[in-house]
């Protein structure tokens, strides 16, 4: 999965946030809708779509969506 596809999949985990608002450089913790539930959705998305397991703690340490992508790729 390339970065663009990952960003799209990441954006799909939100219910109200406009997908356009989510880019590789987006600081996702600052999005109004970001919550522990969205975090769980992202972790499950990474598991289902990419077969990789990331931890909540690791996700917390990421700043941008691209950081998450790099984290997943490093697994």
């Amino acid at each position: 999965m390339n970065l663009e596809e990952f960003v799209n999949g990441f954006a799909e985990q939100f219910d109200d946030t406009d997908p356009e608002e989510i880019q590789a450089g987006t600081v996702f913790h600052e999005l109004e809708e970001w919550s522990s539930l969205t975090g769980m959705a992202v972790i499950a998305f990474v598991k289902t779509a990419m077969g990789k397991k990331i931890e909540g703690k690791e996700l917390k340490a990421c700043v941008t969506v691209e950081d998450v992508y790099n984290l997943v790729c490093s697994k």
Binding site: E12, D15, D16, S35, L37
Partner: protein
């Protein structure tokens, strides 16, 4: 809040199982209360009959099997303020007769289908903030009944699922409630294998009011749960059963 808190004016509501029984009554009652209704069922002829009973409006028919390609059905739907998961089938077999196919059939329609429909509605962002979701389960989830093992289990499963769904949607002020009816006079019980005579007898003996519910009784409760009168009511399971002592 609307002047009449029980009104559904301005709301768009999806009703599954709208081609018959409780779902049909619910679609009609919702339209009478001002809602735009999206009706689902497989039988298009019977859906058209439902539409003819409804108050005029820009209602939408999305016919199709909920155990099939549900993503395609959801894609045809507008954004929703209310959902009534009513489609379901009855089933009657003694526990020693149950086969794998029975479980697949009953769990498929009564559990898997509403769960996957709900997932798809959320994925395709069709559920508005502050929406109301209603599952029509059955008192059977708690009242045991001979030859109803798989059916009752399918209803217990949906009650447990609804309980979890409410946690996940609370952030968007979406409420999730369950209606658990006792026996209701619909095709489901009339064609369910028991004679009408034995049903009439049961109605007399097992219900404090000596009558089963009518589909519209359940519909009015659904309207209440869909209306702004219940914006701060979530996670309840309302029993409606004319004082059933047992099922």
């Amino acid at each position: 809040m609307a002047a009449n808190p029980f009104s559904l004016e301005g709301k768009t509501v999806l009703v599954t199982g709208a081609s018959s029984g409780i779902g049909r009554s619910t679609a009609v009652a919702c339209s009478n209360m001002g809602a735009t209704v999206v009706v689902n069922g497989r039988n298009e002829h019977k859906l058209a009959e439902t539409l003819a009973l409804m108050a005029p409006g820009s209602h939408v028919v999305v016919a199709g099997d909920l155990t099939g390609d549900v993503a395609a059905l959801v894609a045809q739907m507008p954004k929703l303020d209310g959902i009534v998961h009513c489609a379901g089938i009855g089933h009657s077999k003694l526990c020693k007769q149950i086969e794998a196919d029975d479980i697949d059939l009953v769990m498929g329609v009564n559990f898997k289908a509403p769960v996957l429909l709900q997932a798809e509605l959320l994925k395709q962002r069709k559920v508005n903030k502050g929406a109301s979701i209603v599952f029509v389960a059955s008192l059977g989830y708690d009242y045991p009944n001979v030859a109803n093992g798989v059916y009752c289990a399918s209803k217990g499963a949906i009650v447990a699922y609804a309980n979890c769904l409410k946690l996940e949607l609370a952030q968007r002020l979406i409420r999730v409630n369950v209606i658990s009816p006792g026996m209701v006079w619909t095709d489901l019980i009339v064609h369910g294998g028991m004679t009408e005579e034995s049903l009439r007898e049961d109605e007399q003996n097992s219900y404090l009011f000596h009558q089963y519910n009518q589909p519209e009784d359940i519909a009015y409760l659904a309207v209440y749960l869909l209306s702004d009168a219940t914006v701060r009511m979530t996670g309840t399971n309302v029993h409606i059963a004319a004082g059933a002592k047992r099922l």
